[in-house]
Amino acid sequence: GGGEATGLDSVKVALVPGGPHPYFQPWIAAADQAKTDFGLGDATFNETAGWDQTKENDVINSLVANGYNAFGVFGVSPTDINSTFQNLKQNGIASAALGSCPAGDTNDADFCLSTDTEAAAYKAAQATIEAMGGSGVLAHLTGVNVDSNTQRRIAGVKKAVEETNGAVTLLPDVTDIDTDITTAQKAVADLLASKGSEITGIVSTAYNPAVAAATAVKESGLPISLVAIDDDETILAAIEDGSVYATIAQNPTGQAYVGSYALAKLASKECTMSEPGAIIDSGSFVVTKENVASYDDERTAASEQLMKDFDADYLVCS
């Protein structure tokens, strides 16, 4: 990090994820780090929303009432989160969409710092196809269909498959199996039982299905290449033991750390956005057995670059 610890002690940053999920856990440490590094008044993390937009709004409102004046929010409902951002903006509160951008073409937060989910899914599918040897049958496991990120991921996978010019066939996307681990495990097992002999590759762009698929593929002994998303310890262990070919790591730490920095600059009125509502990619990284030990350095470097980009391009400071 590179900011100076001056003038930002009036800023209280709140990071609000969509709900309890391992993906967001790095936010906690990153928020603490940002607080010390930038001398923030406070930086807190609150996951009580429980994947419910109304409750997420309630959480945000309570935090406002408690004096928080800069918000990094993973919107539960991408179609609704702009209303929340508008509300914050009307009251002069800085906001950022972190980890997921609002659906549609507008972002009413000051900026969105998120994985380009379509690009990440595209990379994941490409990695899977590579592992499959360039041809075969691919299955895509993903999360709640109603999430616009899911739609983007479906598009990304589709794009990668289309680029093979028919060498790879894509089975219908298996959605809505991220609700709980039992559902995911059952869906994966049923998929393997009915289509296991045809399938040559699986790409999972959701958490529980990835965990379930890693074990199921290993146990079935089927020659299926598996690529997951995120770098939860379970997945990393699976990459190390070879049951998962690769995963696409995102950059939650960078989102929270850099996001807090920019939010603080905006909330203290020190800076404004050069382009309000800018959408910024926080990066995604292919992790395989080869780089499982080192990918984090690559990611840290990317975060540092992000910080510079904010200072240089995205923020206009007085």
């Binding site: 009580t48 937009q53 109304t54 409102n61 409902s77 179609t79 609704d80 009251n91 659906a103 109603v146």
Partner: protein, 346 residues
């Protein structure tokens, strides 16, 4: 019994107990966290939730009044909201027309449910459970088919006014209303009044209650019980749809997850408020107070930054304690005298 002054009787009702608890709670909260009185960020959202969930509670109350349950309140809300969303998104209907269509859809699904129950005589729990399964399958499928990103996002004129505007924007001769009170309370108060009137002043409400008390005796007293069962479920579906639509206006768009959180709350409100699960009694004001109590508690815990796990644990315990306290009070009262029906009016 007639000699007991009305005030003394009232002091013993669940409603009074609830008002007292809420008052004390709010007092404590304000003393410890003056920000509780923040209009735009605490009170207005709190009152909005109370408004929406009161309607949810009423949706359950109407079927509780005939001794039934509606396990599908949430899904009926999702269904009604979905129809309203479609009418805005695909047919560009104006606000009122879309809302009416949504309500009609809720009424229709409720009526179908009621009709099945009346026709087959099967327990309402089973039929509404099955209905909730069916809608749980149908609604997301329709959203996926008819929208991009599984949401209807077109907002007709007046949408934000209904869902996200407070009296602060209602100004007369330079004087504006309080920012703490959302405009949404207006339709909800109207609904409460209508439902209250229905149960207290009309033949239909009374017939619903008698059907809930003893359906055989009701049929044998000339009450068309099958029609009343359909009526109660139709009301339930309509109110559920209304709650779903109100929720959509308050969060900004129509999604299949609307109503996910309705089912449990829908029981808590009326039951804390004194509506009997067995049917035969209802209380509109009690339902409102029961909802208010739980939401004030939630808001208070939220302001103190209580985490998700503690929040759940505390909410569960408070529910148990509140109901046990109510039990104890009831037993005490029973010991003293014989309560009368008039003590539990709508």
């Amino acid at each position: 019994m007639t000699s007991r002054p009305a005030v003394v009787r009232w002091l013993g009702t669940p409603r009074f107990v609830l008002i007292a608890i809420i008052a004390v709670l709010v007092g404590v909260l304000v003393a410890l966290k003056p920000s509780f009185l923040n209009g735009a960020f605490v009170l207005a959202p709190l009152i909005t939730s109370i408004a929406v969930f009161t309607v949810v509670g009423l949706a359950q109350m109407t079927v509780l009044s005939i001794g039934h349950m509606n396990i599908a309140v949430g899904q009926m809300a999702a269904f009604g909201a979905m129809v309203a969303g479609i009418s805005f998104d695909l047919f560009a209907l104006p606000l009122v027309a879309g809302i009416l269509l949504g309500l009609v859809a809720g009424a229709a699904i409720g009526a179908v449910t009621g009709w099945m129950i009346a026709r087959t005589g099967v327990n309402s729990f089973i039929v509404t459970l099955a209905m909730s399964f069916a809608l749980l399958g149908l609604v997301p499928t329709v959203y996926s088919a008819l929208s991009t990103g599984s949401a209807f996002v077109v907002k007709p004129e007046g949408f934000d006014l209904l869902g996200r505007t407070s009296f602060a924007s209602v100004c007369l001769a330079g004087w504006c209303g309080p920012a703490a009170i959302p405009l949404m309370v207006v339709p909800v108060l109207v609904v409460m009044a209508v439902i209250g009137l229905l149960y207290q002043r009309t033949r239909y409400g009374r017939e619903l209650l008698l059907t809930g008390s003893n359906v055989t005796a009701a049929e044998l007293s000339g009450i068309p019980t099958a029609r009343r069962i359909v009526l109660a479920h139709t009301l339930s579906g309509t109110l559920a749809a209304l709650a779903g639509i109100l929720l959509a206006t308050s969060i900004g768009s129509f999604t299949p997850s609307i109503g996910d959180e309705f089912m449990l709350q829908s029981f808590v409100g009326p039951i804390l408020g004194g509506t009997l699960l067995a049917g035969g009694y209802v209380s509109v004001v009690g339902t409102f107070l029961g909802i208010t109590l739980t939401l004030v508690i939630r808001k208070g815990l939220e302001l103190f930054g209580v985490g998700i796990e503690t929040l759940n644990v505390l909410l569960g315990i408070i529910l148990l304690v509140a109901l046990s306290a109510d039990r104890v009070r009831e037993i005490r009262l029973r010991r003293g005298r014989t309560p009368t029906a008039e003590e539990v009016p709508a």
